[in-house]
């Protein structure tokens, strides 16, 4: 039992931090530009594939750095020559644009790398155990990923709280026009934030690819969960996105790990039902993928502005 708790907590935190890498960019872009970027998870997938392709030539570590940079450049181009033009026609047009873009990216990945997973893995020495507990190994790679995720969180906090650019971003979150009236180039700031958000998504792909699986369906597998994080955390709230990421990461991981059925739970509180019945026999593990969406529905009914948000979706 203790083993399950320790490892599920570690894995849940890691999954949560990966979710936060994706949702932080998405929520920044949303609150600045009012665009829910449907293609955000596709940039995450590109991050993983670029790291895989680059890694074949330059090695794992340089690829880890280069891939997010490349995706950031791509994001900047998409914002400058795509979104900025579409923006004049309103939010629905923008939404449809990012929706289309997501499919274009997904199909391009299919074309270039095929529909089966590619063998994007961490180097051999990183797959060695960092420590063993109760006979289960925790790999060095998982430790490294956790560290990168935490570093990224600290860097993001520092950027937004302590730098002049961060001040500008926070001001533009609520009063974009006024920031422009003071002589600051807000469209360029938007492009920078969009590119930065894409880079964070790509970084999640780079470090998450070897852990999860680098395949063409990875964007569609994670994309909806990232949207849930943003809504549950509260539209436009970074802190909310952080809490929601960890919450969903931990809940999903624990549900997968626990060998318990609905019937077992009901019996534990004294209901006395058949633990092998058609409904009561369903295990928590099989409900796990559904938990983010159950949370989404409950949040929208009972607290539509999310955990920390000020805006209603």
């Amino acid at each position: 039992m203790l083993e399950i708790i320790v490892f599920s907590t570690l894995n849940g935190l890691l999954y949560g931090l990966l979710l936060f890498m994706l949702s932080s960019g998405l929520t920044l872009i949303f609150s600045m530009m009012g665009v829910l970027n449907f293609a955000h998870a596709s940039f995450y997938m590109l991050g993983a594939y670029f790291a895989y392709a680059l890694g074949l030539h330059v090695g794992f570590w340089p690829a880890l750095l280069l891939s997010p940079l490349l995706v950031a450049g791509l994001g900047a181009v998409v914002e400058r020559f795509g979104l900025r033009r579409v923006h004049e026609h309103g939010h629905v047009a923008e939404l449809l644009f990012t929706f289309g873009l997501a499919y274009v990216i997904d199909e391009t990945v299919h074309l270039l790398w095929g529909s089966i997973p590619v063998s994007y893995t961490a180097p051999e020495y990183l797959r060695a155990p960092l420590f063993s507990l109760f006979g289960t190994d925790y790999s060095i790679y998982r430790g490294v990923t956790m560290m990168i995720a935490v570093l990224m969180f600290v860097a993001l906090w520092y950027l937004l709280r302590k730098t002049r650019v961060g001040m500008m971003i926070r001001a533009a979150l609520t009063h974009g026009a006024m920031v422009g009236h003071l002589g600051h180039n807000v469209p360029r700031l938007f492009m920078g934030v969009f590119a930065f958000g894409c880079a964070l998504a790509a970084l999640a792909g780079v470090i998450g690819g070897p852990l999860l699986s680098t395949e063409p369906g990875m964007a569609q597998a994670l994309g909806p969960v990232v949207f849930v994080v943003v809504v549950v955390g509260g539209m436009g709230s970074l802190l909310g996105a952080f809490y929601a990421s960890l919450l969903i990461g931990l809940v999903q991981t624990f549900f997968v790990a626990l060998d318990v059925s609905i019937g077992d739970l009901l019996n534990a509180v004294g209901f006395g039902v058949d633990p092998y019945g058609e409904v009561t026999g369903i295990t928590l593990a099989s409900i796990a993928p559904m938990t983010p969406f159950i949370l989404l529905v409950l949040i929208l009914i009972f607290r539509p502005r999310g955990l920390m948000g000020e805006l209603e979706p």
Partner: protein
């Protein structure tokens, strides 16, 4: 310094500005008066590009109509909108610092100077600006725009809804700005501070300038005041 020629602007299909003409000289304080809805705010918004302008707007001889707002601001035109757009999550000090356009070339106005001028702002220098009162927010937005060293500042209804004591303080700040040699276009509904501070007064009606003269001339012209200003 500023020449506005045959300026038109629309909100959707309604024609708000219907050929506005006026000019301002260096160091001049000009009041733009008129009742609600005659197009005073729209005039300054069109100059800043917030409402798409049609016609000619020249600042120091350069055409600026239709430029993005940050480029207009960088040419030396400051704008304080009427809704006191402070950045609520940033501290008072950070609000002022964001007014600086180029940190490597500091201008003639200093953060400390405004904190000295307004002890209320000094007390809350490191608190989020969202907690300030209406009057304090007004002081902060004007000061913040000054941090960018504008040569001409357009201030939209700075005294609206404020207590007489605060109105007096804002009048003093505007006089201080004028003494520093900055040109001021002051948009107001009431005559109060505008008449004491301005060199020249423009009155708007139906999207056009309907009177232009000194405050004394406007005082003497009861017909104009009755028709275009008094409620």
């Amino acid at each position: 310094m500023l020449e506005v020629n045959d300026l038109h602007a629309y909100y959707g299909k309604s024609h708000i500005l219907n050929g506005v003409n006026f000019s301002m000289k260096e160091g001049e304080v000009v009041a733009l008066l008129g009742r609600n809805g005659v197009g005073r705010s729209t005039t300054v918004k069109a100059i800043m590009g917030e409402v798409p302008p049609q016609g000619s707007i020249r600042f120091r001889g350069e055409e600026i109509a239709g430029l993005p707002n940050h480029r207009i601001a960088r040419k030396g035109l400051g704008y304080v909108p009427e809704n006191r757009d402070i950045f609520p999550t940033l501290s008072v000090r950070q609000n002022l610092e964001l007014g600086i356009k180029n940190t490597r070339r500091p201008g003639k106005w200093k953060v400390e100077q405004f904190l000295e001028m307004f002890p209320n702002l000094a007390q809350r220098a490191d608190s989020p600006a969202g907690v300030l009162s209406g009057g304090e927010k007004q002081m902060l937005t004007i000061s913040r725009t000054l941090m960018g060293d504008p040569e001409l500042i357009m201030i939209d209804e700075p005294t609206e809804g404020l207590a007489p004591l605060i109105v007096k303080q804002i009048g003093e700040l505007i006089s201080e700005i004028a003494r520093a040699g900055v040109s001021i276009l002051l948009v107001e509904q009431k005559l109060s501070i505008a008449m004491d501070i301005s060199h020249r007064v423009l009155v708007m009606g139906h999207g056009q300038i309907v009177f232009e003269g000194t405050p004394q001339e406007l005082r003497a012209d009861e017909a104009i005041r009755k028709e275009w200003l008094e409620v």
